[in-house]
């Protein structure tokens, strides 16, 4: 069974979001998502300073099975991206919620946060999608 930390927020496209106090957030993909993808071989991270729109693809993860888009949960500006992933994409497999983070965003619109699920809602969503 995959882990779903309770302090984080989640999207239907399997990103996790860690909200900070200063209107910024860190984004990665969930343990459930990485287990579906299998061993990652390549990650394309967004550019720092790039503007992203809510629900728009801004990064790509590629595994031995598939390439998959990563969507920004918010409209905003990319503050930082995880450069480590270029050489070690497997960090997302081994440590999806910490060392495997993908990018940080300063979000413009607080209303975007209303769309996110908490851990319980995501657990229910992921279980349902499995059937």
């Amino acid at each position: 069974m995959s882990t779903i930390p309770s302090g984080l927020k989640y999207t239907q496209s399997h990103e996790w979001i860690e909200l900070a106090d200063d209107d910024t957030a860190t984004i990665g993909i969930t343990d459930h998502a990485q287990s579906l993808l299998g061993d990652l071989v390549y990650v394309e991270i967004p550019d720092v300073g790039q503007d992203v729109a809510a629900a728009e693809a801004c990064a790509v993860v590629e595994s031995v099975k598939a390439a998959s888009d990563i969507y920004s949960p918010f409209s905003g500006e990319v503050l930082e991206a995880n450069e480590e992933l270029a050489d070690t994409p497997e960090l997302i497999n081994t440590d999806p919620y910490d060392a495997g983070w993908i990018f940080k965003v300063r979000y413009h619109n607080k209303a975007d946060l209303d769309e996110l699920m908490d851990a319980d809602a995501y657990a229910e969503f992921a279980a349902k999608e499995d059937h």
């Binding site: 061993d39 071989v41 390549y42 598939a66 390439a67 497997e90 499995d130």
Partner: protein, 486 residues
């Protein structure tokens, strides 16, 4: 082992040696190589054995059942090959005058006509050299159409999430943004999601019908009406044309442009042995933008049409007449089948798929869409085996090799977890299908009773389980040449 590793210095093969007389060589001295080319020095017999043994390691349609979903790996009739190799075709120089190639051009013109008729389109260009180029030509024509009308605000192509990855790649190559449309639980395009996505920004919709989920899009007429009402055009991806050949026509469904994969539906060589061929068909709207060259007819004379005849063409896609040898094979295949034969292809490929689907279901396999009739292919999901036994689709695929079967397509479409996309094609007998069911049943039992047998597979192949992560991350394609030979 590569052939250089067999080489011994000085083992020259006189019989195959090329003549080194210089009399007809007008390449300037400064451009000629100083050192001899580094070639493997082996005997003729060594070379023959080396390549024969390599070919014996292959899985191919000539040696094995090859049910690779959405790829239509069917038998390539030998007659197509031998007729395409007639000296008149083989010796024809592509730059010779049209008047000297009337026979060849007549065949190409007839092929255009047959493809037109079987797809319900107004015109066909044979120029695209493969499916991906056909897609590119199709979307470039949609772009040319909107541009010609000064309707330049349209910047989006709609693509269902079940599509082949080439579809979004094509749209991006043509300068469009991609908007993904969800699939509903029965495998159809989510009509409400489509309705919400269609608008004045829509340049077109790319649709594969039957889809890669192995089902026919039932609301295609409503979908076409919806997209057309918003001013967008419809693109038909011909990947799965085999299932409906001669039965239903994309033109009648409302598609404006279509590409066909002759290496699938019209049984020309496929895979590593290609090359492919991806003709496009258009309706009246897109007629002015057809890629060149196209074979035209004036009176009784055939001739190659270029930009003088089609001034608004989206462009030239091949220097001469497309992949001419492949087009000839497709032409002969179509002529051998005739109209009735083409209908039987759809019927038998669909019958084979449905038979195999039912037999696998009876053997205890879970179908992705058990309430739907299969088209020419269908999806089995092994998510139960993956979850309960820790035996995955990849393990099943590797074990199938041990039992003498090329694996079906795995992990595609992405929508269905742990899936096998299985396409038997019309050229397999019931005996072969039954034997495949028996092999799948054996593996299923092994997964339950002796899972190591499956997770350690393959055991009888030249190599065991490969490290796919390393293969993807550390490409090593070059064999180091030894200095003393250079």
């Amino acid at each position: 082992m590569i052939i250089y590793e067999l080489a011994v210095k000085g083992r020259i093969n006189k019989a195959q040696n090329i003549s080194t007389t210089d009399t007809l060589n007008d390449i300037p001295q400064k451009l000629r190589r100083k050192k001899r080319a580094y070639l493997p020095e082996v005997s003729e017999l060594q070379a023959v054995r080396h390549y024969t043994q390599l070919s014996q390691k292959n899985f191919s349609i000539d040696t094995h059942f090859y049910p690779l979903g959405s790829c239509t790996m069917k038998y390539n009739p030998r007659a197509c090959n031998s007729l395409a190799m007639l000296p008149g075709f083989l010796a024809r120089h592509p730059q010779s005058d049209d008047s000297l190639g009337q026979g060849f051009l007549a065949c190409m013109h007839e092929l255009q006509d047959m493809l037109k008729e079987v797809t319900g389109m107004q015109a066909v260009s044979l120029a695209p050299m493969a499916g991906a180029q056909g897609e590119f030509a199709g979307i470039a024509m949609i772009r040319a159409y909107h541009d010609a009308r000064n309707d330049t605000a349209r910047n989006e192509i709609l693509i269902p999430d079940a599509a082949h990855g080439t579809n979004p790649a094509t749209a991006v190559m043509c300068g469009y943004r991609v908007k993904e449309i969800a699939t509903d639980k029965n495998g159809d395009v989510d009509f409400d999601a489509l309705k919400a996505a269609v608008g004045p920004q829509t340049a077109g919709l790319m649709l594969t019908n039957p889809s890669t989920l192995g089902v026919f899009e039932r609301r295609i007429k409503e979908i076409a009406a919806l997209v057309h009402a918003a001013g967008g055009l419809l693109y038909y991806d011909g990947a799965n044309l085999n299932a409906i050949l001669g039965k239903v026509r994309p033109g009648d469904m409302g598609f404006d442009v279509i590409h066909m994969n002759l290496h699938k539906t019209f049984s020309t060589p496929h895979g590593g042995g290609g090359p492919g061929s991806g003709p496009v068909g258009v309706n009246e709207r897109l007629l002015p933008y057809l890629p060149i060259p196209v074979v035209g007819k004036k009176g009784d004379t055939y001739r190659i049409f270029d930009e003088h005849d089609i001034p608004q063409t989206m462009g030239r896609l091949s220097a001469f007449a497309g992949n001419a040898g492949i087009l000839l094979r497709a032409y002969i295949y179509a002529r051998m089948l005739g109209k009735e034969g083409m209908v039987r292809i759809a019927e038998y490929s669909t019958l084979n798929a449905n038979y195999l689907m039912k037999m696998l279901e009876q053997a205890g396999f879970e179908l992705a869409f058990s309430n739907r009739r299969a088209t020419h292919e269908f999806i089995v999901t092994l998510k139960k085996q993956a979850k309960e036994l820790n035996v995955t689709t990849l393990d099943f695929a590797k074990r199938l090799l041990d039992l003498g079967y090329h694996a079906p397509t795995t992990y595609f479409p992405l929508l269905v977890p742990e899936c096998l996309l299985i396409e038997p094609t019309e050229t397999e007998t019931k005996d072969v299908l039954d034997a495949f069911v028996a092999a799948m049943t054996t593996i299923k039992k092994e997964a339950e009773q002796n899972p190591d047998k499956v997770t350690q597979a393959p055991e009888t192949m030249p190599v065991r389980r490969l490290d796919e992560v390393r293969a993807a991350k550390q490409l090593d394609l070059r064999w180091p040449a030894k200095e003393n030979n250079a």
